[in-house]
Protein backbone atom coordinates (compact mmCIF):
# COMPACT_ATOMS: atom_id res chain seq x y z
CA UNK A 1 0.00 0.00 0.00
CA UNK A 2 2.84 2.36 0.63
CA UNK A 3 6.56 2.39 0.04
CA UNK A 4 8.88 1.27 2.74
CA UNK A 5 11.38 3.78 4.03
CA UNK A 6 14.79 2.81 2.72
CA UNK A 7 17.39 3.45 5.35
CA UNK A 8 20.63 1.91 4.10
CA UNK A 9 22.91 4.74 3.05
CA UNK A 10 25.86 4.67 0.71
CA UNK A 11 28.02 6.03 3.53
CA UNK A 12 27.42 2.95 5.59
CA UNK A 13 27.65 0.64 2.60
CA UNK A 14 30.97 2.12 1.56
CA UNK A 15 32.56 0.67 4.68
CA UNK A 16 32.06 -2.79 3.18
CA UNK A 17 33.94 -1.76 0.07
CA UNK A 18 37.23 -3.22 1.18
CA UNK A 19 35.77 -6.70 0.85
CA UNK A 20 34.30 -6.03 -2.59
CA UNK A 21 37.61 -4.82 -3.97
CA UNK A 22 39.65 -7.76 -2.73
CA UNK A 23 38.73 -9.85 -5.79
CA UNK A 24 40.80 -9.50 -9.00
CA UNK A 25 39.74 -6.55 -11.16
CA UNK A 26 38.69 -6.71 -14.76
CA UNK A 27 40.26 -3.68 -16.41
CA UNK A 28 38.54 -1.33 -18.82
CA UNK A 29 34.99 -0.41 -19.62
CA UNK A 30 31.94 -2.47 -20.34
CA UNK A 31 31.53 -3.39 -24.02
CA UNK A 32 28.47 -1.86 -25.71
CA UNK A 33 26.49 -5.10 -25.83
CA UNK A 34 26.86 -5.68 -22.11
CA UNK A 35 25.81 -2.26 -20.92
CA UNK A 36 23.03 -2.36 -18.36
CA UNK A 37 20.87 0.44 -17.10
CA UNK A 38 20.45 0.62 -13.33
CA UNK A 39 16.87 -0.40 -14.13
CA UNK A 40 18.00 -3.91 -15.08
CA UNK A 41 19.50 -4.48 -11.64
CA UNK A 42 16.51 -3.27 -9.63
CA UNK A 43 13.93 -5.47 -7.95
CA UNK A 44 10.71 -6.20 -9.85
CA UNK A 45 8.69 -4.01 -7.51
CA UNK A 46 10.86 -0.94 -8.11
CA UNK A 47 10.81 -1.63 -11.87
CA UNK A 48 7.01 -1.77 -11.72
CA UNK A 49 6.98 1.57 -9.90
CA UNK A 50 9.01 3.17 -12.70
CA UNK A 51 6.97 1.55 -15.47
CA UNK A 52 3.57 2.73 -14.25
CA UNK A 53 3.16 6.48 -14.62
CA UNK A 54 0.51 6.37 -11.91
CA UNK A 55 2.91 4.78 -9.41
CA UNK A 56 6.08 6.65 -10.44
CA UNK A 57 6.44 9.56 -8.01
CA UNK A 58 8.67 11.34 -10.55
CA UNK A 59 5.45 12.07 -12.46
CA UNK A 60 4.41 14.46 -9.66
CA UNK A 61 7.39 16.63 -10.66
CA UNK A 62 6.68 16.15 -14.36
CA UNK A 63 3.19 17.51 -13.79
CA UNK A 64 4.49 20.46 -11.81
CA UNK A 65 6.99 21.03 -14.62
CA UNK A 66 4.19 21.16 -17.16
CA UNK A 67 2.57 23.93 -15.14
CA UNK A 68 5.84 25.86 -14.91
CA UNK A 69 6.51 25.41 -18.62
CA UNK A 70 3.31 27.25 -19.43
CA UNK A 71 3.52 29.92 -16.73
CA UNK A 72 4.65 33.43 -17.71
CA UNK A 73 7.42 34.75 -15.48
CA UNK A 74 10.01 37.53 -15.33
CA UNK A 75 10.08 41.06 -16.65
CA UNK A 76 9.85 39.69 -20.20
CA UNK A 77 6.53 38.08 -19.18
CA UNK A 78 7.29 34.99 -21.20
CA UNK A 79 6.63 31.31 -20.59
CA UNK A 80 8.91 28.56 -21.90
CA UNK A 81 6.01 27.62 -24.16
CA UNK A 82 6.02 31.08 -25.77
CA UNK A 83 9.45 30.52 -27.38
CA UNK A 84 9.42 26.73 -27.79
CA UNK A 85 6.62 25.97 -30.21
CA UNK A 86 4.84 23.02 -28.62
CA UNK A 87 6.35 20.68 -26.10
CA UNK A 88 7.04 18.25 -28.96
CA UNK A 89 9.76 20.61 -30.15
CA UNK A 90 11.95 19.70 -27.19
CA UNK A 91 11.65 15.98 -27.77
CA UNK A 92 15.18 14.55 -27.86
CA UNK A 93 16.78 17.59 -26.25
CA UNK A 94 17.60 15.85 -22.96
CA UNK A 95 19.28 13.04 -24.90
CA UNK A 96 21.89 15.40 -26.33
CA UNK A 97 22.86 17.42 -23.25
CA UNK A 98 25.34 18.62 -21.96
CA UNK A 99 25.93 20.78 -25.03
CA UNK A 100 28.51 23.43 -25.88
CA UNK A 101 27.49 26.99 -25.09
CA UNK A 102 29.48 29.32 -27.33
CA UNK A 103 28.91 32.46 -25.23
CA UNK A 104 30.44 30.78 -22.18
CA UNK A 105 33.07 28.80 -24.08
CA UNK A 106 32.20 25.60 -22.21
CA UNK A 107 29.57 22.88 -22.14
CA UNK A 108 26.48 23.30 -19.96
CA UNK A 109 24.01 20.79 -18.54
CA UNK A 110 20.25 20.85 -19.13
CA UNK A 111 19.55 22.54 -15.77
CA UNK A 112 22.00 25.30 -16.66
CA UNK A 113 20.29 25.75 -20.02
CA UNK A 114 16.96 26.16 -18.25
CA UNK A 115 18.50 28.80 -15.98
CA UNK A 116 20.14 30.60 -18.93
CA UNK A 117 16.74 30.77 -20.61
CA UNK A 118 15.34 32.24 -17.42
CA UNK A 119 17.98 34.96 -17.11
CA UNK A 120 18.42 35.77 -20.82
CA UNK A 121 14.93 35.36 -22.24
CA UNK A 122 12.47 35.44 -19.36
CA UNK A 123 14.55 38.02 -17.47
CA UNK A 124 14.08 36.53 -14.05
CA UNK A 125 16.11 34.89 -11.29
CA UNK A 126 17.76 31.54 -12.00
CA UNK A 127 16.35 28.60 -10.03
CA UNK A 128 18.42 27.19 -7.18
CA UNK A 129 20.25 23.87 -7.54
CA UNK A 130 18.02 20.91 -6.56
CA UNK A 131 15.06 23.26 -6.06
CA UNK A 132 11.68 21.70 -6.64
CA UNK A 133 11.01 24.02 -9.56
CA UNK A 134 14.28 23.30 -11.37
CA UNK A 135 13.81 19.56 -10.87
CA UNK A 136 10.22 19.83 -12.08
CA UNK A 137 11.18 21.68 -15.27
CA UNK A 138 14.09 19.36 -16.03
CA UNK A 139 11.90 16.31 -15.35
CA UNK A 140 9.26 17.65 -17.73
CA UNK A 141 11.83 18.35 -20.44
CA UNK A 142 13.62 15.01 -19.92
CA UNK A 143 10.36 13.08 -20.06
CA UNK A 144 9.83 14.35 -23.62
CA UNK A 145 12.89 12.29 -24.62
CA UNK A 146 11.79 9.12 -22.86
CA UNK A 147 12.57 6.06 -24.96
CA UNK A 148 15.01 7.90 -27.20
CA UNK A 149 18.65 6.86 -27.48
CA UNK A 150 21.25 9.00 -25.71
CA UNK A 151 22.91 10.96 -28.50
CA UNK A 152 25.69 13.34 -27.41
CA UNK A 153 26.41 15.90 -30.14
CA UNK A 154 29.42 15.27 -32.39
CA UNK A 155 30.89 18.65 -31.53
CA UNK A 156 34.71 18.76 -31.60
CA UNK A 157 34.68 21.61 -29.05
CA UNK A 158 33.29 19.12 -26.50
CA UNK A 159 36.20 16.71 -26.86
CA UNK A 160 38.59 18.28 -24.31
CA UNK A 161 35.78 18.41 -21.75
CA UNK A 162 34.85 14.75 -22.36
CA UNK A 163 38.49 13.85 -21.82
CA UNK A 164 38.52 15.95 -18.66
CA UNK A 165 35.46 14.06 -17.42
CA UNK A 166 37.06 10.74 -18.24
CA UNK A 167 40.18 11.69 -16.29
CA UNK A 168 38.02 12.65 -13.30
CA UNK A 169 36.17 9.37 -13.59
CA UNK A 170 39.42 7.41 -13.46
CA UNK A 171 41.08 9.52 -10.75
CA UNK A 172 41.32 8.12 -7.24
CA UNK A 173 40.03 10.55 -4.66
CA UNK A 174 38.87 10.86 -1.06
CA UNK A 175 40.01 9.13 2.08
CA UNK A 176 39.01 5.76 0.64
CA UNK A 177 41.26 6.53 -2.35
CA UNK A 178 38.70 5.30 -4.86
CA UNK A 179 37.87 6.25 -8.42
CA UNK A 180 34.43 6.05 -10.07
CA UNK A 181 35.87 3.42 -12.43
CA UNK A 182 36.83 1.06 -9.63
CA UNK A 183 33.20 0.59 -8.65
CA UNK A 184 31.32 1.20 -11.89
CA UNK A 185 33.66 -0.47 -14.39
CA UNK A 186 35.70 -2.97 -12.42
CA UNK A 187 33.08 -4.13 -9.92
CA UNK A 188 29.71 -3.36 -11.47
CA UNK A 189 27.14 -6.11 -10.97
CA UNK A 190 28.74 -7.09 -7.66
CA UNK A 191 27.59 -6.05 -4.22
CA UNK A 192 28.33 -2.94 -2.19
CA UNK A 193 26.73 -3.91 1.10
CA UNK A 194 23.33 -5.22 0.05
CA UNK A 195 23.10 -3.06 -3.10
CA UNK A 196 24.11 -4.13 -6.59
CA UNK A 197 26.73 -1.78 -8.02
CA UNK A 198 25.31 -0.35 -11.26
CA UNK A 199 27.43 0.48 -14.28
CA UNK A 200 26.75 4.13 -13.66
CA UNK A 201 24.87 5.16 -16.80
CA UNK A 202 23.00 8.48 -16.53
CA UNK A 203 20.01 7.13 -18.43
CA UNK A 204 17.11 8.00 -16.14
CA UNK A 205 17.82 11.42 -14.63
CA UNK A 206 16.30 13.18 -12.86
CA UNK A 207 15.55 10.12 -10.71
CA UNK A 208 13.14 9.54 -7.87
CA UNK A 209 15.35 7.80 -5.36
CA UNK A 210 13.52 5.93 -2.60
CA UNK A 211 16.37 6.66 -0.20
CA UNK A 212 15.98 10.40 -0.86
CA UNK A 213 12.19 10.24 -0.88
CA UNK A 214 12.46 12.87 -3.55
CA UNK A 215 13.46 13.57 -7.10
CA UNK A 216 17.13 14.43 -7.57
CA UNK A 217 19.54 15.32 -10.33
CA UNK A 218 22.63 13.48 -11.55
CA UNK A 219 24.63 16.13 -9.70
CA UNK A 220 23.07 15.04 -6.42
CA UNK A 221 23.89 11.43 -7.24
CA UNK A 222 27.52 12.34 -8.01
CA UNK A 223 27.76 14.26 -4.73
CA UNK A 224 26.47 11.17 -2.93
CA UNK A 225 29.18 9.05 -4.54
CA UNK A 226 31.87 11.61 -3.64
CA UNK A 227 30.74 11.67 -0.01
CA UNK A 228 30.72 7.85 -0.01
CA UNK A 229 34.35 7.94 -1.20
CA UNK A 230 35.04 10.38 1.67
CA UNK A 231 35.94 13.06 -0.84
CA UNK A 232 34.90 16.70 -0.64
CA UNK A 233 32.01 17.20 -3.08
CA UNK A 234 32.50 20.00 -5.62
CA UNK A 235 30.31 23.08 -5.30
CA UNK A 236 26.95 22.84 -7.05
CA UNK A 237 28.07 25.18 -9.82
CA UNK A 238 31.34 23.35 -10.48
CA UNK A 239 32.35 22.50 -14.04
CA UNK A 240 33.57 19.09 -12.85
CA UNK A 241 29.99 17.83 -12.68
CA UNK A 242 29.28 18.92 -16.24
CA UNK A 243 32.48 17.29 -17.51
CA UNK A 244 31.63 14.06 -15.68
CA UNK A 245 28.08 14.15 -17.03
CA UNK A 246 29.42 14.73 -20.52
CA UNK A 247 31.75 11.75 -20.24
CA UNK A 248 29.02 9.54 -18.75
CA UNK A 249 26.59 10.51 -21.53
CA UNK A 250 29.16 9.69 -24.21
CA UNK A 251 29.84 6.39 -22.43
CA UNK A 252 26.10 5.64 -22.45
CA UNK A 253 25.62 6.68 -26.10
CA UNK A 254 22.72 4.76 -27.66
CA UNK A 255 21.15 3.64 -24.41
CA UNK A 256 17.50 4.57 -24.01
CA UNK A 257 16.46 7.44 -21.75
CA UNK A 258 13.99 6.40 -19.02
CA UNK A 259 13.40 9.77 -17.35
CA UNK A 260 11.99 10.16 -14.80
CA UNK A 261 13.50 6.96 -13.42
CA UNK A 262 12.94 5.35 -10.03
CA UNK A 263 15.92 3.96 -8.12
CA UNK A 264 16.19 2.27 -4.72
Amino acid sequence: MSRRRVSAGLLRAAVCLGAALAAPLAAGQTPDGQRRSGYDDMSKSVQAMQDDDMANPGMLWVRDGEGLWNRRVGSADKACADCHAGIGSISGVAARYPAFEATLGRPIALEQRINLCRTNHQRTEPLGPESRELLALSAYVAQQSRGQPIAPPADPRLQPFIEGGEALYARRQGQLNLSCAQCHDDNSGRKLGSATIPQGHPSAYPIYRLEWQSLGSLKRRLRNCLIGMRAEPYDYGAQEYVDLELFLMSRARGMKLESPGVRP
Partner: protein, 106 residues
Protein backbone atom coordinates in the same frame (compact mmCIF):
# COMPACT_ATOMS: atom_id res chain seq x y z
CA UNK B 1 0.25 23.37 -8.54
CA UNK B 2 -2.13 20.52 -7.92
CA UNK B 3 -1.07 17.75 -5.64
CA UNK B 4 -2.49 14.42 -6.69
CA UNK B 5 -2.43 11.99 -9.60
CA UNK B 6 -5.51 9.78 -9.80
CA UNK B 7 -6.31 6.83 -12.00
CA UNK B 8 -9.89 5.59 -12.29
CA UNK B 9 -11.25 3.74 -15.34
CA UNK B 10 -13.52 6.02 -17.43
CA UNK B 11 -16.21 3.39 -17.84
CA UNK B 12 -16.88 0.09 -16.09
CA UNK B 13 -19.63 -2.55 -16.19
CA UNK B 14 -22.16 -2.73 -13.36
CA UNK B 15 -20.99 -5.12 -10.67
CA UNK B 16 -17.41 -5.04 -11.91
CA UNK B 17 -14.55 -4.73 -9.41
CA UNK B 18 -12.21 -1.91 -10.44
CA UNK B 19 -9.03 -0.34 -9.13
CA UNK B 20 -8.52 3.24 -7.97
CA UNK B 21 -4.90 4.39 -7.82
CA UNK B 22 -3.72 7.63 -6.23
CA UNK B 23 -0.38 9.32 -5.77
CA UNK B 24 -0.04 12.52 -3.78
CA UNK B 25 2.80 14.93 -3.22
CA UNK B 26 3.58 15.15 0.50
CA UNK B 27 6.81 15.12 2.49
CA UNK B 28 5.51 12.85 5.33
CA UNK B 29 7.94 14.26 7.88
CA UNK B 30 7.99 11.73 10.73
CA UNK B 31 8.49 14.01 13.73
CA UNK B 32 11.35 11.81 14.87
CA UNK B 33 14.15 13.37 12.83
CA UNK B 34 16.51 16.11 13.92
CA UNK B 35 17.72 18.94 11.71
CA UNK B 36 21.33 20.08 11.33
CA UNK B 37 21.14 21.96 14.64
CA UNK B 38 19.83 18.94 16.56
CA UNK B 39 16.28 20.30 16.85
CA UNK B 40 13.41 17.89 16.23
CA UNK B 41 11.62 18.60 12.96
CA UNK B 42 7.91 18.77 13.83
CA UNK B 43 5.72 16.01 12.48
CA UNK B 44 3.98 16.80 9.21
CA UNK B 45 2.11 13.83 7.81
CA UNK B 46 -1.15 12.99 6.08
CA UNK B 47 -3.28 11.40 8.78
CA UNK B 48 -6.31 10.16 6.94
CA UNK B 49 -7.38 9.25 3.42
CA UNK B 50 -11.00 8.61 2.55
CA UNK B 51 -12.81 7.75 -0.64
CA UNK B 52 -16.53 8.22 -1.13
CA UNK B 53 -18.46 6.90 -4.09
CA UNK B 54 -21.70 8.84 -4.65
CA UNK B 55 -21.53 9.97 -1.03
CA UNK B 56 -20.96 6.50 0.42
CA UNK B 57 -17.59 5.86 2.02
CA UNK B 58 -15.98 2.87 0.31
CA UNK B 59 -12.44 3.10 1.64
CA UNK B 60 -10.54 4.84 4.36
CA UNK B 61 -6.99 4.64 5.57
CA UNK B 62 -5.14 5.96 8.60
CA UNK B 63 -1.57 6.89 7.73
CA UNK B 64 1.32 6.69 10.17
CA UNK B 65 4.74 8.39 10.37
CA UNK B 66 6.36 5.18 9.04
CA UNK B 67 4.83 5.75 5.61
CA UNK B 68 7.21 7.21 3.05
CA UNK B 69 6.93 10.57 1.32
CA UNK B 70 4.51 10.93 -1.61
CA UNK B 71 2.16 8.10 -0.56
CA UNK B 72 0.81 5.83 -3.28
CA UNK B 73 -2.56 4.35 -2.34
CA UNK B 74 -4.43 1.83 -4.44
CA UNK B 75 -7.60 -0.09 -3.63
CA UNK B 76 -10.59 -1.76 -5.24
CA UNK B 77 -14.31 -1.15 -5.15
CA UNK B 78 -17.42 -2.43 -6.95
CA UNK B 79 -19.16 -0.43 -9.68
CA UNK B 80 -22.73 0.37 -8.65
CA UNK B 81 -24.02 3.54 -10.35
CA UNK B 82 -22.56 6.26 -12.56
CA UNK B 83 -21.50 9.23 -10.53
CA UNK B 84 -18.59 10.81 -8.78
CA UNK B 85 -15.77 9.46 -6.69
CA UNK B 86 -14.40 11.91 -4.14
CA UNK B 87 -10.93 11.43 -2.68
CA UNK B 88 -9.85 13.35 0.39
CA UNK B 89 -6.50 13.56 2.13
CA UNK B 90 -6.25 15.38 5.48
CA UNK B 91 -3.29 15.82 7.78
CA UNK B 92 -1.10 17.94 10.02
CA UNK B 93 -0.88 21.72 9.65
CA UNK B 94 -4.34 21.93 8.11
CA UNK B 95 -3.39 19.84 5.09
CA UNK B 96 -6.53 19.09 3.10
CA UNK B 97 -6.84 18.10 -0.54
CA UNK B 98 -10.00 16.94 -2.20
CA UNK B 99 -10.25 15.68 -5.76
CA UNK B 100 -13.28 14.33 -7.56
CA UNK B 101 -13.47 12.17 -10.65
CA UNK B 102 -16.52 10.98 -12.50
CA UNK B 103 -17.17 7.39 -13.45
CA UNK B 104 -19.59 5.91 -15.96
CA UNK B 105 -21.24 2.57 -15.16
CA UNK B 106 -22.72 0.74 -18.13
Amino acid sequence: MSHALISVPKAVKRGQVFEIKTLISHRMETGFRADAKGQLVPRDIIQRFTCTYNGVEVFNLKLSPAIAANPFISFFTVATESGTIALRWTGDNGFAVEETVSIKVE
